[in-house]
Point group: C2
Chain length 208, copies 2
């Protein structure tokens, strides 16, 4: 029963591989059938295994979903940080973040779709709060940090960094949702426009 024990254990390669395989199938199935349609049966079928295997490697569906979120979130953050780390001004980091996210959306749309689905639909165990919101708190804090940096260097005007981060995050997320549901929509142009909007929003402006 070693596979069922809690997270801290050292796990065999095959154990790790199975979990990764299941997470990959879950990601794919969620992206294709939405959160509500992603049953354990479908995920198992996609992975070419029996349904019981999922229950063997994950204590519950929630745990599987949390793992999916964890992996995709780490992937996105790594991609964006890598793409932005050399930029020097806050303005350039801002632009870079938006363009990097758009690029990543084009490369791994299923992962982003799955992330959105889970974030929108999953609840904490007690049912009181969306755990998806908790998950995106990390991203919110990173964005907030960018805006705070810009204010510290005097590049940006005064504003509420939290509100700016929430707005920025919403805009980027909805860019994906719009792109995903409107075939032919120009993601690059959208991202460029977004970058423009948020850079302008950070500038001081004379007329009230």
């Amino acid at each position: 029963m070693s596979a069922r024990t809690a997270g801290g254990d050292k796990q065999s390669f095959i154990e790790q591989a199975r979990r990764a395989q299941i997470v990959a199938s879950a990601t794919k199935v969620i992206a294709e059938t939405r959160y509500a349609g992603a049953s354990l049966a479908l995920i198992a079928e996609d992975a070419g295994i029996s349904k019981g295997v999922i229950s063997y490697h994950f204590t519950s569906k929630s745990e599987l979903m949390e793992e999916v979120v964890r992996r995709i979130l780490a992937e996105v953050v790594e991609f964006v940080v890598e793409s932005v780390k050399d930029r020097e001004s806050a303005t350039e980091v801002l632009r870079g973040q938006i363009l990097a996210v758009a690029e990543h959306m084009r490369e791994r749309p299923a992962a982003i779709m799955a992330l959105h689905e889970i974030a929108a639909n999953m609840r904490a165990p007690d049912g009181s709060l969306r755990s998806g919101i908790e998950a995106s708190e990390e991203i919110l804090r990173l964005l907030e940090g960018i805006y705070e940096m810009g204010q510290r260097t005097g590049e940006f005007r005064a504003f509420d960094c939290r509100v700016m981060a929430v707005t920025h995050n919403a805009a980027v997320n909805d860019m994906f949702a719009y792109w995903a549901t409107h075939p032919g929509h120009d993601l690059d142009a959208h991202a460029a426009e977004l970058a423009d909007v948020f850079v302008r929003a950070t500038r001081e402006e004379p007329s009230a």
Copy 2:
């Protein structure tokens, strides 16, 4: 079986009243238990009627949900249009729209919550698209119109009005989501900040 016939009919007062009552209970239950938790049984219980009555007055759960969306959307649009109709510049309409929506969120949070839940979770009959997105197309067009007006009068700089409308809509929606999940968050300050951001985004700015 008159109640089951399609929409065009003249319907009795009691029929209309029952439908309105069911829609009201559905709105409340969705806001309290989220879309996935809002079963016909719970809605009927809240309305103090038998489950079968819902099936009698609505051909399906989807039809009920569509009616809920229709009513809330109409309510929001009416409130905002009423609150904005006397403003003369596009900039003032923009500000007014954001502040009006925030005010409406404070007055009828359950309705807005239900709208968000359904928009995020409902699908078109063929399962291909979110009907919630279709529903919000109306709002998107209204917003697009504001930005186009500002460009026509030379008040606003050149930008993609569609992208601006999508971004604006996302920001306002997420303002609600953040407020709903973060007790103590200052909705008025958030709305004011948002208005500032989008007004600034419409302005020409010298430094590239």
